[in-house]
């Protein structure tokens, strides 16, 4: 019988983290190139906080990606980057469950629950 070991989980987690970072940074880079091409000579001002622009909300992002807007593509990469460690936690939960380590499956699910609470906490602007 194949027994799943900690080292197997470690290998999978390492792969998830590496792939997530490379993929998301690649997307950010692509979006950045388009953004600079289209807006490179615009004048910026980040002195004051300007609220939430349309291209970072979900509908806006999807629309933006379809219309090839650089900032929407960057934001898509950033969301993937934020998701990477969260996906890592989800993989750990599965790994601990397969190992039949129920104490740690519970601990891992609790961490996911806290992140979910943070996401849905109603602190969006």
């Amino acid at each position: 019988m194949n027994k799943l070991k900690d080292t197997d989980i470690q290998a999978v987690i390492g792969w998830v983290l590496r792939t997530g970072v490379m993929l998301s940074v690649g997307i950010v880079f692509l979006g950045g190139a388009i953004y600079l091409y289209r807006h490179g000579h615009d004048v910026t001002d980040y002195r004051t906080f300007k609220g939430i622009p349309a291209y970072v909300q979900l509908n806006g992002i999807i629309n933006g990606i379809l219309t090839f807007r650089g900032r929407s593509i960057i934001q898509c990469g950033i969301i993937l980057l934020i998701a990477t460690p969260i996906i890592r936690v989800a993989f750990s939960a599965v790994g601990f469950a397969l190992e039949k380590d129920y104490l740690y499956t519970g601990i891992t699910l609790l961490v996911l629950l806290i992140i979910l609470a943070s996401m849905l906490g109603g602190h969006a602007g």
Partner: protein, 278 residues
Amino acid sequence: MSVIELTIIILIGSYFAGLLGSLTGLGGGFIIIPLLTLALHVNIHYAIGASLISVIATSSGSAAAYVKEGITNMRLGMFLEIATTAGAMAGAIAAIYTPTQYIAILFGLILITSALMSLHKKTVQLTKHKSYLAQKLKFNSSYPSAEGPVEYNVINVAGGFFAMLFAGVISGLLGIGSGALKVVAMDGIMRIPFKVSTTTSNFMIGVTAAASAVVYLQRGYIDPGLSMPVVIGVLLGAVTGSKILVQSSSSKWIRIIFAIVVSVVAVQMIYNGILGKI
């Protein structure tokens, strides 16, 4: 300033931030935030948002390498992540309602503390004492070394947990990895060997930052135009840093110079915070 000029300046600055952050172990956020706010007059909320994203990138990238080596204590990290993510969520919510000048002052104070702590010589004695909680939670482990596996025990679980809660709040409030605080909690309080505490802290930083980044993202504090050069720059810098083999003698000098630079920056952050310019 035009978008392309700003992007190039931030890209170069972030590269050096990532390089220094990886050489000293303090992380890139310590330089990114002052660079954006003091030098480029970016709103501190945007600066923190961009820094958080770069923290996730570097921590996840290097964690991938460490996890494979088998030094990271994944159970310990997972358990302490309960504290750091809960703290980070609280910190991110607090950041929304805290006036920016207080954030700047607090940032300066934490910056000085971390710089001083990074100079502190680390000598951790392995403890033979077996704590009941640590045994129940299966923390006691071993790590590979040149002389074969080194066994270690973990003590003072509750104390470490509360210190991590604090580290999480700071991370969520200021957008830094607060790796220095995490390492202190693990070395000083829980008596974990330095190699294990640094890699495990790094392993936790990504999740901690993600827990507050989801709040920042929804508030619109994470601006793609700023985050793009910051993430790319810091990541490239960190990769360069990990390729440079630092000898222990020169590493001490790097730390001292870095501590001085960081203290000067910290004083400026506090000064501008008090004047309400940030």
